[in-house]
């Protein structure tokens, strides 16, 4: 057996390419390191508490909370039970917002996909609208609506739903773009009108993927709903703000436990459902908040 040899002169082009690539990689890594070092130095100087001091206190707060919860003993589970309605409220915010957002996202996605025979001028319009909705930070809309509507869950629902239309709409339209056109053409050949072509030719192809993205978005929205509660929109977040303000460690611990448990359970269950739905093309990777 002869060993492979490599003659640099013979492959000058490849060597040059490889060297340039190496240079780019090195440059990227250097830039990344500079950003990280400079960024952390800057962040450290802007922070009110320093990094070292913070690290030493890192476990103090969780420690205190757990200690106070431990001191309560079995009654702790009673406290947990008392906060279940707050959890239900947060889940309701997320579910309603995901449903409303998902419905509008589906409509927008159908109007923004080229291969679904919609009126062409509509396509760029609905795409730009989705971009705007996606870019709009939930916090801004929620704070505005809390000011107008008063502190309740509805501002959070509207804010999350608005963002969901943009985020899900984009993913849905990508699903639409990858459909097999043949069923649609077949239906057209037997004289089916547009709604029928969509109902029997497109929906059966896209619904499993839609549902999978929908579940993933629901996970993200549960987290968002909890956070928006903290700025005034009810549910777990609002309770958390209250108990932290009043310094009731055992109640804080109960709320944190509920939040952690529900997020983990939703995460695992939706992951299982998505895996069972999954076809080769589908993954949660393109999903973003």
């Amino acid at each position: 057996m002869t060993s492979l040899t490599f003659d640099p002169d013979q492959h000058a082009g490849i060597v040059a390419l490889e060297q340039r690539r190496r240079l780019y990689s090195m440059l990227t890594i250097v830039v990344l390191v500079i950003i990280l070092v400079a960024g952390y130095t800057q962040a450290e100087s802007m922070n009110s508490g320093g990094f070292m001091k913070g690290m030493s206190q890192f476990f103090d707060y969780p420690g205190d909370v757990i200690e106070e919860a431990w001191a309560v003993g079995w009654a702790f589970w009673g406290i947990v039970w008392r906060f279940v309605p707050a959890l239900v409220e947060t889940l309701n915010i997320a579910a309603t917002a995901t449903i409303l957002g998902g419905v509008f996202a589906a409509v927008f996605a159908f109007l923004s996909t080229r291969n679904l025979d919609v009126w062409p001028p509509l396509i760029p319009v609905s795409r730009r609208m989705m971009d705007i909705m996606r870019a709009f930070p939930e916090l801004v809309l929620a704070l505005f609506l809390i000011f107008v509507l008063g502190a309740s869950s509805v501002p959070a629902v509207i804010a999350i739903a608005f963002h969901t239309v943009g985020a899900l709409g984009k993913l849905f339209s990508e699903v639409n773009e990858n459909i097999d056109r043949r069923p649609v053409e077949g239906l057209q050949a037997v004289g089916a009108n547009w709604p029928k072509r969509m109902r029997f030719g497109v929906l059966p192809q896209v619904l499993p993927n839609y549902f999978s993205y929908f579940l993933l978005r629901f996970e993200i929205n549960v987290r968002a709903a909890a956070i928006l509660g903290y700025v005034g929109a009810g549910g777990l977040g609002a309770e958390l703000l209250r108990t932290i303000g009043w310094g009731k460690g055992q109640e804080t611990a109960a709320l944190l436990l509920l939040l952690f448990a529900s997020i983990t359970i939703i995460d695992q269950v939706s992951g299982m459902i998505r895996r069972s739905l999954a076809t080769g093309t589908l993954s949660g990777r393109r999903m973003m908040a």
Binding site: S3, L4, L32, I35, L36, G39, Y40, Q42, A43, M46, N47, S48, G49, F51, G54, Q57, D60, Y61, P62, V88, N92, A95, T96, I99, R134, A135, P137, E138, L139, V140, L143, F144, F147, V148, L149, G150, S152, V154, V157, G191, P204, R223, A226, I227, L228, Y230, V231, L240, I244, L259, F260, T264, D267, Q268, S283, G284, R285, R286, M288, A289
Partner: protein
Amino acid sequence: MSTPTFDRDALLAAHPRAVTHVARGSLVALVSLVLVFTYLIYAVFAFDIPRLIATAEPQRAVLLVTDSVAHKVHVTKSLRRPEFEVAVEGERTATYTPDTYPAWVRADDDAETVDVDLGDGYVVHIVGDHVTLETPDDGTIDVQVIETGVTIGYSGEKPDWVREGMNVTTGHLVKFDARPTIDKRIQITRSKIEIHRYFTGWEHFFFPFNSPLHGLSAGEVAGLAVSEERLDPARSNAALIFETFWNNPEWQHGHIFKALLETVLMGVLGTFTAALVGLPLAFAAAHTFNRFGVIRFALRRLFDFLRGIDMLIWSLIFIRAFGLGPLTGALAIAFTDTGTLGKLFSEALENIDRKQIEGVSATGANRWQRYRYGVIPQILPVFVSQGLYYLESNMRSATVIGALGAGGIGLVLVETIRTSRDWENTLYIIILTILLVVAMDGLSSWLRRRLIRGG
């Protein structure tokens, strides 16, 4: 050509399974729709929408919108003390001196008689404690301030834009409040007469009222910047102009810029840290690269734990330990997303193509070279595109974490809304926040296209 005909019975006889399949699908769809609809009806009651509609304050939205695109000038005459003031937004630092009153306000030296022209034919004459309001369509309205409050006389019908305030215990009229159009308002009580006139635009956006640069045109400012003659002997004119703008007490450009920088730092540092810590952990959690099942299991649970704690809880813990600042937000993002990205990367690593690694090892490559040329090129696109997606999304998260108390633009936004005084400032911050998010979105999708196509 004959049109195809549809005979259900014939079709059912020929393809029974196809027909029942479609029918079953329709039934499932119908049942799901009914369930979702029922849930939404439940939600209407769970959120108590009827009460919400009853207590909503839509006029606040109008107020917010008007106030955020306009500013008002207050003309105030105190009836208790001999005081008369014309000031932008009623602020002490933005008070006109008697020789610089705007043209629509005329007052004699002791402000005994004052004429205010509100535009569109509405003119207010003040003589001592007597006010006459001339209107184009509703005649004149006379208001006399007396010991117990005010007396009001109309030359015609009482217009519907006038509200009279009554002291319910004594039955005396104590307040006159007229808002004929959205940009004019006259309020009279026993203690003072206050007239507001609104103007479109943001006032003092560049330079504060009491600075020497106020009221200069852009050309004049540019001329000053290059002129040798110093307004302030201690500084060059360009520095003076910049510092006056930057430290504008009302708009606080410098303060807001710093807050934006903090938010960017949170998002960028948090995402980069998560990606760089997540990658090696992902190798150790992928069965293709790690034979020790225990370690893999432990790392997977660690990822789940980091994700399950959620950004909200991490933020609260870090705010307690590290106080206000970008470091707090960066670490909260980094902790949560180390779990998310670690999980994604390890899934990507488990799905890579073994053939490429085998090809590289067939050339006699060592372990490091196999990783470098067999694995990294395969997962780099996933790494880059996921990292950038999370960078985008974390810019939004950073504003929210800021609002929880970590600082940055989120906190500034919450504070200006809570004080709800200057809505134009709020709108300014909202616009900057959206611009920041959109700019980061654009940057990240540009980078993604460049890196993935080019790489």
